[in-house]
């Protein structure tokens, strides 16, 4: 005999017979999201034209788009974008590797946790941006500095979420794995880490956001290349369209990164959503 989780044919027929639900475009979150952006840009463009506000303070969106195209075509914006992306993600992946490994170690060893708790309590609340002067003294202003500041930004959220995720694993699952003959290493690899994936992923989201902020901030302070450096330079020479253009690139980067994370989250969490 089999329990059937699905509706019976008769119940399905009743569901099919229901009148179709009337849906307006405003029920579509994508339309609402993108629509609000388009509307804001239109109001901005029309407002700027009607009021004749000085473009030094508030350039029109159309001017910003033209500036953006020009910067991509001849101004090396793509190179700066790629450099910033490299710095963010290289540091982020170092943080992901080290943070997950350390997090699992801390969560599974009382002694390590006793030591790590103190260090995390001391270092996590410290604004990482305040470490920039010290890191410049130690590492200079080149690649190692940028990767370090990016990794520092991401490592704490990843580490802390890994510790929490592993500690909150269902003890029943660990017992079941032991019952099926799992060794301690197999329990960590096959039970604790998969259990902690949603929490680790939440830490990755937070960490990547902090990495982006820190890398752009570091580029603004010491960088000769990268979006932060370009943003700072454009501000210094009062090229407001260029400032906005770089901000748009950063905002777009934020949207793309968030969407990719959403897609990965859905892919990894099929078992939660099904």
């Amino acid at each position: 005999m089999t329990d059937r989780p699905l509706a019976s044919a008769a119940a399905q027929a009743e569901i099919d017979a229901l009148p179709p639900e009337r849906k307006s475009l405003l029920d579509n979150p994508r339309v609402l999201g993108w629509g609000s952006i388009v509307l804001a840009l239109a109001v901005w463009e029309i407002g700027a034209r009607l009021t004749g506000v000085n473009s030094l303070y508030l350039p029109k969106p159309s001017q910003i788009v033209l500036s953006l195209i020009e910067m991509f075509r001849s101004g090396g914006l793509l190179t700066d974008l790629l450099m910033t992306l490299y710095r963010i993600f290289a540091g982020f992946f170092i943080a992901l590797f080290v943070g997950t490994l350390l997090g699992v170690w801390i969560a599974t060893s009382k002694r390590v946790r006793s030591v790590a708790d103190m260090w995390i309590a001391a270092l996590y609340p410290l604004p990482k941006i305040t470490l920039i002067p010290l890191l410049i003294i130690w590492l200079g202003t080149g690649g190692p500095f940028m990767l370090t500041i990016s990794a520092l930004g991401a490592i704490f959220p990843i580490l802390i979420n890994t510790v929490l995720g592993v500690q909150q694993s269902d003890p029943g699952l660990v017992l079941a794995a032991r019952d099926l003959g799992a060794t301690q290493r197999q329990i960590i690899r096959r039970v604790l880490i998969p259990s902690a994936v949603p929490s680790i992923f939440a830490g990755m989201r937070l960490g990547l956001g902090v990495s982006i902020i820190l890398v752009v901030a570091a580029e603004m302070v010491v960088g000769k290349t990268g979006l932060g450096a370009r943003l700072y330079l454009a501000g210094q020479i009062l090229e407001t369209e260029q400032v906005f253009a770089v901000l748009i690139v950063l905002a777009t980067l934020g949207i793309i990164v968030t969407k990719i994370q959403d897609a990965i989250d859905i892919g990894l969490g099929r078992w939660r959503l099904s």
């Binding site: 005999m1 329990d3 029943g172 099926l180 003959g181 099929r270 078992w271 099904s274």
Partner: protein
Amino acid sequence: MPSPQIAVEFKDVGLVFATDPSAPVVALSQASCRFAPGKVTAIIGPSGCGKSTLLQIARGFLAPTRGTLTFRDEANGDKPTGRPTMATVWQAFNLFPWLTVLENVTFGLELGGNLSRSEREARARQAIAAVDLSGFESKYPRQLSGGMRQRVGIARALVMQPDILLLDEPFGALDAQTRLVLQEQLATLVETRGMTAILITHSIEEAILLGDTIIVMSSRPGRIVSEIKVDLPRPRSLATTQDPEYPRLFDRIYGLLRDEVMQAITAEQGPSA
């Protein structure tokens, strides 16, 4: 195939949890019993009496603080032998939610690393078919009803071909109808395979339906009050409850349990109650 010849013998086994030395908890007190090979032994008793503790000691997850646990090979003059293989079916199912039904059932086989992927899957599909879940191999536990999840739990234990099957209140989390159906299914599986099983349960009906022997335990500190043979014919099903012997057994076990449960309730309420 599992050997049905290993008996589990508890002799004066006790367990005291002394996490707080000023208030040690006696979880089990001087339990002596023998779980016969090829038979199902049901253990019944009030909540907190140490039934699951007994099971965990048998499984090797808890070490007794007194007494001895011995495994004896009946085919070899009842001589002591090494720990037989065991697998547990849990009340809370304990399925890995990120794995499909097939992956859950092959999990234990993969850990051993002795079988090829095709062998593992073939064995898992057999076990899944034995619990009537063919066609659900690619589903995740979340997509299944409680009864189906527990059948995956049973398949996951059976696929390991254990010498001894441990059933820790396997149907405690299920509704009454699903429970009846699964009790019948498990009774059939146990009878056809002639397996050694230890069943922890709160249900007298379940103990009679599945058990060859029923051990009744006292309220905490748990000790064994009585050992009752169940001579009802097999195969057993819901129709077994119509056998004239059934109400007699039921009343006897209930009579023993009632006193123990009342004592447990009084103990929980404290001396002022």
